[in-house]
């Protein structure tokens, strides 16, 4: 009996972890206690296990070193920086300005408000890694307008919740930082790998709304032109944007020979800067070539674009590490809030308090997880998991299918932090054994975890939207009409098409690894490289000695 226990300790630990966590006591300490209890049991059972259990009281002495590793991690330092940046931005009013202006720009198009929400969602996502900010802003501003003009409630709520979750997959995102830390890859690579999947996902959302606009136009009506109080004048905007793009491409081509990997980013920066400077000069110089709408659009786009350059641009060019990018973004967000006259002591104090609280509970989940994995590895549990996962038929694809299914189901019930800290260390060795690129795996899991923000009943994006959407009938502020409240079931149903798009996207990333693996840069193909070893020189006269040339590599 005791031997049976000793040989199956790993599955028993795992099963009781589920029970411990379901009890509802804080996750961090339940994890730690589970680890500690089974550590003691493991030490007691070790003699009966034929060496399968390697636990020993002395091993507990490892824990301080494990915590030292958490404390001294440069990667984890990015968590408070990006969280603080997101909280400051949320209170700076940038999202409100963007939604207002971009909404006016696209409003008169069928489905236009939905397009605006998605585009603003993607733009906010590229500046911050926090979901709450964009969902709350969009729920407060865009939802009432969509309802006023007769948008289908499912589409309106689904688009808002889904666009908010883009913050979790488009860099800089907290999910990607945590995943990079747990997978042991660099955050910069993770960001590069997630960029195209994130943009593609934005494209899929836009495509879905376009399809609805074509086939079910009554669900996403166009706004009447009177709803646009900035007037028309799209033509001047298009011309200016085209000129800006031309400048960007020209700069890019000019710089390409000298700075190949950063010329794109610098070109875009120069193009955007040129447009901005022109928009600033237009009125004072009495050129008056820009419409009111065009100059407003340019003005509101500048702060987020500047932040994107400050954070992502510097990381991608290699000027800053992701952690430094986060710190500069946080300073940039404070400057932006100050310029908009929204910066105050209270605002900073509440953002710092929220950041510290989040850091404490996230880092303590990690501290608990370290105690758990110390025990789990001590009973060779990782070998058990690796055997289980590598035994799945279908090699890499079978493995990816299974873990994605597991994470997808877990995502309905638990937070991404717990999934990342408990599950990722367990599956990483199996993934490595199967020859799976870890950044690719990370991005796939990132899209999957992003979905967990959308899945009822515990999807956080749905919570945030629920908290700002009217529950009871209300009077519309503009038309004075009585509007029905939003039912929770409508929010859940609205999320369904977007969850399907997410699942499709997971499939796309699995089927097309190239979307992610371009982060490795141009690969040197070993087949085309010849190493030219110079032959030994004939013996030279005295003093010279044989000269061994350095080998030269000819690609």
């Amino acid at each position: 009996m005791i031997e049976l226990l000793a040989h199956n300790l790993a599955p028993i630990i795992f099963a009781s972890l589920v029970l411990f966590l379901l009890l509802g006591y804080p996750v961090s300490f339940s994890l730690a206690a589970n680890g500690l209890v089974f550590f003691a049991i493991g030490v007691w059972l070790a003699p009966w296990s034929n060496g399968q259990i390697t636990l020993d009281w002395a091993l507990l002495g490892n824990m301080p070193r494990q915590y030292w590793g958490i404390l001294s991690s440069e990667t984890l330092l990015a968590i408070p920086f990006f969280t603080f940046m997101g909280l400051i931005l949320e209170r700076s009013g940038m999202a409100e300005d963007l939604l207002d202006t971009i909404g006016q720009l696209f409003g008169p198009v069928r489905g236009g408000l939905a397009f605006a929400v998605i585009l603003v969602g993607a733009l906010l996502a590229a500046t911050t890694g926090v979901v709450a900010a964009s969902v709350i802003a969009m729920g407060l501003i865009s939802l009432p307008i969509m309802l006023r003009h007769g948008y289908d409630r499912g589409i309106a709520t689904g688009v808002i919740a889904a666009s908010g979750t883009l913050a979790q997959i488009i860099p800089p995102s907290l999910v990607l930082i945590v995943l990079a830390d747990q997978l042991g890859v660099s955050v910069g690579d993770m960001y590069k790998g997630a960029l195209y999947p994130g943009l593609l996902l934005t494209g899929l959302y836009l495509g879905y709304v376009a399809l609805v606009a074509v086939f079910q136009p009554h669900k996403v009506p166009a706004l009447p032109h009177e709803a646009r109080n900035l007037g028309g004048g799209v033509r001047s905007l298009v011309v200016v944007a085209a000129l800006g793009a031309a400048i960007a491409v020209a700069t890019h081509l000019l710089l390409l020979p000298r700075l190949d990997h950063s010329s794109g980013i610098l070109g875009a920066t120069v193009g955007a800067l040129a447009v901005y400077l022109y928009a600033l000069a237009d009125r004072p110089l009495r050129l008056n070539l820009l419409s009111v709408l065009a100059s407003r659009v340019i003005m509101v786009l500048m702060p987020p674009l500047a932040l994107i350059f400050l954070v992502l641009g510097t990381i991608f060019i290699g000027l800053a590490t992701p952690t430094e990018g986060g710190a500069m973004g946080a300073v940039g967000a404070m400057v932006l809030a100050a310029v908009k006259r929204r910066f105050s002591y209270d605002m900073m104090h509440s953002a710092l308090t929220a950041t510290t609280r989040l850091s404490a509970f996230v880092l303590f989940v990690l501290i608990g997880a370290k105690m758990f994995s110390q025990t789990f590895y001590g009973v060779n549990g990782h070998l058990w998991v690796e055997e289980l996962l590598t035994a799945v038929p279908g090699g890499q694809y079978g493995f990816l299918l299974v873990i994605n299914l597991v994470i997808f189901v877990l995502g309905f019930f638990i937070d991404f932090f717990e999934i990342a800290f408990i599950l990722i260390p367990l599956i990483t060795p199996a993934a490595a054994a199967l020859g799976i690129d870890l950044v690719w795996l990370g991005v796939i899991i990132g899209v999957n975890l992003q979905t967990s923000f959308l899945t009822p009943p515990f999807g956080f994006a749905l919570f945030y939207l629920r908290s700002v959407a009217a529950r009871v009938p209300y009077l519309d502020k503009v038309t004075g009409q009585r509007m029905d409240g939003i039912r929770t079931s409508q929010i859940y149903r609205g999320a369904v098409p977007f969850i399907c798009i997410q699942v499709l996207m997971i499939g796309v990333v699995i089927a097309a690894p190239g979307l992610v693996t371009h982060y490795q840069g141009a690969k040197v193909d070993p087949a085309t490289v010849t190493i030219d070893m110079p032959a030994l020189q004939p013996l030279a006269p005295l003093g010279g000695g044989p000269v061994l040339g350095t080998p030269t590599i000819i690609p």
Binding site: S30, A33, D100, F413
Partner: protein, 202 residues
């Protein structure tokens, strides 16, 4: 019991003071990191001391705040089962967790970290990187964080028993994740409504 409750109140005051003070360390870390990044690029000037100082500060923030977060009942839970129980059952679950899960773990870790701290203090060990900082303050942060957590666990146990016996009222009732977000969204929108805004145009 009254003496125990007085002790618990004292512990709460101490951890709350630490928890509220350490938030400024985050701001300091952000400013140092940004300044260090800029000076490194512009003047090729950077030091390992500043790099290490950032994570000392962050460590101080999250280790220092953990006890306060526990006091505020804000450590994250999986509340599928918990949220549907009566408040009394929740108190019993918490009391069980404090005594069986938290207290042994936190005490054991503090006990293990003490010699770890002493060793670096006596040897005057410096970090491996050139120009780095002394190691003992960071180890002291780890140790003190767990000591605060042990103290807070004791305080929570005393308070839970007092609540179950009807001696004091429940200071921080558990909120489900949704209820917590609702509450914070309400206070947030109350804040932003006072600011002048034109959010009702399309």
């Amino acid at each position: 019991m009254q003496a125990m409750l007085a002790l618990a109140r004292g512990i709460d005051r101490a951890t709350a003071f630490v928890g509220r003070s350490v938030i400024w360390l985050i701001l300091l870390a952000i400013l140092i990191s940004a300044a260090n990044a800029i000076s490194r690029k512009l003047f090729d000037l950077s030091s390992n001391a500043f790099l290490e100082l950032q994570w000392y500060l962050f460590g101080g923030a999250f280790m220092g705040a953990a006890a306060h977060v526990l006091q505020q009942n804000e450590h994250i839970r999986i509340d599928i089962f918990y949220a549907s129980r009566s408040r009394r059952t929740q108190h019993w679950i918490d009391l069980f967790g404090h005594v069986v899960f938290l207290l042994p773990f936190a005490s054991l870790m503090a006990w293990l970290l003490w010699p770890y701290l002493l060793q670096s203090w006596h040897s005057g060990q410096m970090s491996g990187s050139p120009g780095g900082l002394a190691i003992w303050p960071a180890r002291a942060i780890l140790f003190l964080g767990f000591v605060l957590l042990v103290a807070q666990a004791l305080s929570e146990i005393v308070k839970k028993i007092a609540i179950l016996r009807g001696l004091i009222t429940d200071p921080h009732p558990h909120l489900s994740a949704q209820a917590a977000i609702d509450a914070s969204a309400l206070s947030d929108s109350a804040l932003s409504d006072s600011a002048p805004q034109t959010r009702d145009q399309p």
